[in-house]
Subunit: 576 residues, 2 copies
């Protein structure tokens, strides 16, 4: 038997477009002689649809499109489509009005429906807001073969692997009891650093525990802040990875299930390639390559799915904007990227030159709009009101906000999407200006710590950019001076980030312990950090909540990003 | 038996401060001879604590404070405190790590614990993100009396009242089966227009259905976008409201339960007052008074709980900023409110005069910062880049962003919280400038439709303001010209809102049908609206998502506000 995986990149809400992606894949699967086609979770409507699910017309449109799609598919091919299905018992018995379902289409009609049982409500997930959990696990048959169906989280309650149980039910164990020969999974599993390795390790563990091979079809593509990496794969009964689909791009593969061997089969070469593909490290350079690919996809899809074709960003001569310019140039080609230099009297001599050199290296267009006159004009405007006050945060922020205003005017005038360039270290401690450098429709690196910004730029210069964005030679892309000079906001003479913040290697470690590992102040101090510094950092993070609440969506690459999965009150007291 | 209700206004995360509020109330209850004191849901930590619940140190701090509080309470008094309690079985059996609980303290120790069973996940609620539902309902005894304990949503699954079941379980029915004499409820039920009437009608219905009197203790106070109105109340066995606590302020009351009559008792006068208090209408003028009180509380608490004492806002001479100035003046006194006039060459002659008159009427300070020079300076800056383009959205937005920059500079310089003044109609269709007039730490009226802005201002002038903010006489507060002139953004000569938008009475009805009632385009057209207009409005709402995502928290007064309960994808396609 042949099983095709369509690793699709749906657009949320684009029911017709997504239906066409499924139809194309089904035709391809038919030509390849496949018996079964898997698509990702909610492939017909895109994941996560969020509150679109509360629109009855949207639900009706999805149901209507499913009915239209079924007769167009190759009749013999079993196609599993992810979509929502009404919970008709909700009104009488209580419960949510929808199921998150896998619908088996064959011979022009709906043959069987499977409901997701385990509904995640952590991080970016809100599935209990919309869905009723399915009560049982079930399978369908192709010939003699029993194929158990699971949806994303249904696979993630492996108690032995995690050392604890997350849900009462265990769909994989239940399917094993039903004696299925194979488990398939429709996923929309977001990317985070190292996640691909976690997924394959967990599923290999599950396969060995239950003795059933698994085929895992994941969504790919960027949807607002969430990047889906694809990286679909299959594990045979022995626990070997027999195939891994590409990461960060749409892909299609046909796998073989051998009824005699009662297992998925692959050539030794395929298996070797698959194993190599999941030997992933989050440390540089592998981590850099992975994060780079994620960010490029995130930018490309946000630009495309929001209907833009060009982007604009401010080029300060600093490393953050340099990295974002490189990502954008790779994502949508340099000719669609406009960099704007907005030097002030506090800009260092080399800032403009560094920015110009970067733009030349990337092949992107630039404009220069000096802001000295505007700064003076704001000074004159405030002459009376600010008399006898000293230069401070207000004046520094005015500069950042002049630049933000100039960039938005260009965005409004020419229809370019503005990208903001702040990194996660800054966003954590509030070292950024609301309505200034935070301006933008997408915060490209707001989940990338400063130390990772450096390592990404070094990786780019070491050849990463040439590999990723073929047109440029592999030589220096980010001017070395941008990497080597001390980071500075250049909002007053001689200012460097170190005046206000700990060194970034110290800051990033404290932030990672506090935010991602949720360690307390005493725990972080016990790890060797200065108590006063740790307390300062934790306080700055807490006080910056109001800025993050108004930040642009930021591409998520960590397990705990500031975005839809970060839900902190603003008006609050410290409990310490 | 005497039952005290402490209608508290906790600060989220302020465990020690909240504990002291409970302690004070307990002392007062002790002096009043009460046997039992009720506090609101999660009274020890404040509702909603959101992702603070994911901080193990926070959970530990709450548990430690509960242990400290218990021995300080009057020993005989039974005190029910709302807090979180660990779910010790989560690791082995699966499930969330916390319960949302009511802890009964007596004689210096924890006597009994009750867990919330029905966990809301709609609108602003995310309780499945944090909590495991309690499995059973239970009661405690005071003398011979069995008192059943419920928490907020536990009361809201009245199938007969709503015409459908929301949850499988029904805690009230279960308590009735257990033969309890009285049901108490710890709530944190947010305000929305008319919600007080809904609550009392539903609980009167539940009392009559189950034959058990109910005492309902609700939280009061503003927490970010959510305003809790208090309005705690009690219903006797016949379904009469026997007492209603004040709305929009902290309150305390002692009720009498007569063991012989087996019922809550109140004097005829108390009952008459209570019934009158819940005869509420959402139509003006009652709706205006209620919304006004909610917004005043929302501003006051956000300012206070964020640690500010003064606010600043732009005064355009228009009705939105006039209303916000009046709300702020009432909330934190006019001497703590600074209005900034920022006229441009496009400002009409009367705008400045109207704004000055408003400030005089309210007694607030003003500053004037004309923006003509800055506009010219931006023009010069863009002279080359924008050559041969026509005046449009880019130039209009520059003006709004100059003003936003000026206001933020004042906020930064003097430490005033900036209030933004956009209304819900504008926020819905995107008739507002991101990083311009949307700037601010709190969007005071972003859930108030324009037509309601008018009715609130008329109500203020008819005496509402004098009643609410005692220091001013009841005469005209909002200059009549501000109410009577056609609304205009004044970003180009002769511009009025009607150039771009339908009349506000039409727009607001379409928006209410589309957003709050979730009607489709055909349904709204069938109600008598022009199809082209309806389609335009729906499209504008959809396209403005990116602006709302970066908006300041906005005080919620409707059942469907743009805020933590509105979760729409930005990058999406229309399914129509």
């Amino acid at each position: 038997m042949k099983i095709a995986i369509a690793q699709l990149n749906p657009t949320i809400g684009d029911i017709l477009g997504n239906s066409n992606l499924i139809l194309e894949a089904a035709k391809k699967a038919g030509v390849a002689g496949a018996n079964l086609l898997l698509t990702p979770e909610l492939s017909l409507i895109g994941y996560p649809p969020r509150d679109l699910l509360m629109d009855a017309n949207f639900i009706a449109a999805a149901a209507a499109q499913l009915q239209k799609l079924a007769p167009d598919l190759p009749p013999e091919l079993a196609v599993i489509v992810g979509t929502v299905v009404p919970n008709v018992h909700a009104v009488k018995l209580g419960g949510k009005s929808l199921f998150n379902s896998a619908v088996l289409l064959q011979n022009g009609a709906v043959k069987q429906v499977f409901h997701k049982r385990l509904l995640p409500t952590y991080d970016v997930f809100d599935e209990d807001r919309y869905f009723e959990p399915g009560e049982n696990s079930n399978y369908f048959t192709v010939g003699e073969l029993k194929i158990g169906v699971t949806i994303c989280e249904d696979l993630w309650n492996n108690e032995d692997f995690w050392g604890q149980r997350s849900y009462a039910g265990d769909p994989v164990a239940d399917l094993a009891k039903l004696g299925v020969d194979l488990v398939v999974n429709l996923s929309a599993s977001p990317y985070s650093g190292g996640k691909r390795g976690v997924r394959s390790a967990m599923l290999q563990h599950s396969v060995i525990r239950c003795g059933i091979p698994i085929v895992y079809a994941n969504q790919v593509g960027g949807n607002d802040d969430i990047i889906f990496d694809g990286s679909s794969f299959a594990v045979n009964r022995k626990g070997d990875l027999i195939q891994v689909l590409n990461s960060f791009e749409t892909d299609f593969a046909v796998l073989e299930y051998d009824e005699n061997k009662q297992d998925l089969v692959g050539s030794n070469q395929q298996i070797a390639v698959a194993i190599e593909a999941t030997k992933l490290s989050f440390a540089p350079p592998e981590g850099d390559a992975e994060i780079w690919a994620a960010l490029v996809l995130g930018v490309r899809d946000y630009v495309r799915k929001c209907g833009f074709s060009k982007v604009v960003l401010g080029l300060s001569g600093g490393i953050d904007s340099a990295l974002v310019a490189a990502i954008a140039s790779c994502a949508i080609k340099p000719e669609n990227v406009l960099g704007v230099l907005m030097p002030s009297p506090y800009s260092s001599d080399h800032s403009v030159n560094d920015a110009l050199e970067l733009a030349r290296n990337l092949g992107m267009a630039i404009e220069m709009l000096p802001i000295a006159d505007l700064m003076k004009c704001y000074d004159r405007t405030f002459a009376d009101l600010f008399v006898n006050t000293t230069f401070g945060i207000a004046e520094e922020n005015i500069q950042s906000r002049i630049r933000g205003n100039l960039l938005m005017a260009i965005s409004n005038k020419f229809g370019h999407l503005l990208l903001s360039t702040g990194n996660k270290s800054e966003m954590s401690v509030g070292y950024c200006t609301l309505y200034g450098d935070m301006n933008g429709g997408l915060a490209v690196i707001s989940d990338v710590p400063k130390t990772r910004v450096y390592s990404l730029c070094r990786w780019l210069n070491a050849g990463g950019y040439a590999d990723a964005a073929a047109p440029r030679p592999g030589s220096e892309i980010i001017p070395v001076n941008i990497i080597s000079k001390p980071p500075s906001a250049e909002l007053k003479p001689g200012q460097v980030d170190r005046d206000s913040l700990p060194d970034y290697d110290v800051l990033d470690e404290i932030l990672q312990r506090s935010i991602e590992h949720r360690e307390s102040v005493p725990e972080i101090v016990a790890a060797g950090h200065d108590e006063a510094v740790v307390k300062l950092v934790v306080k700055l993070v807490r006080q910056s909540e109001f800025k993050r609440r108004q930040a642009a969506p930021g591409l998520k690459i960590s397990d705990r990003a500031f975005g839809t999965g970060w839900r902190m009150p603003i008006a609050k007291a410290s409990f310490y």
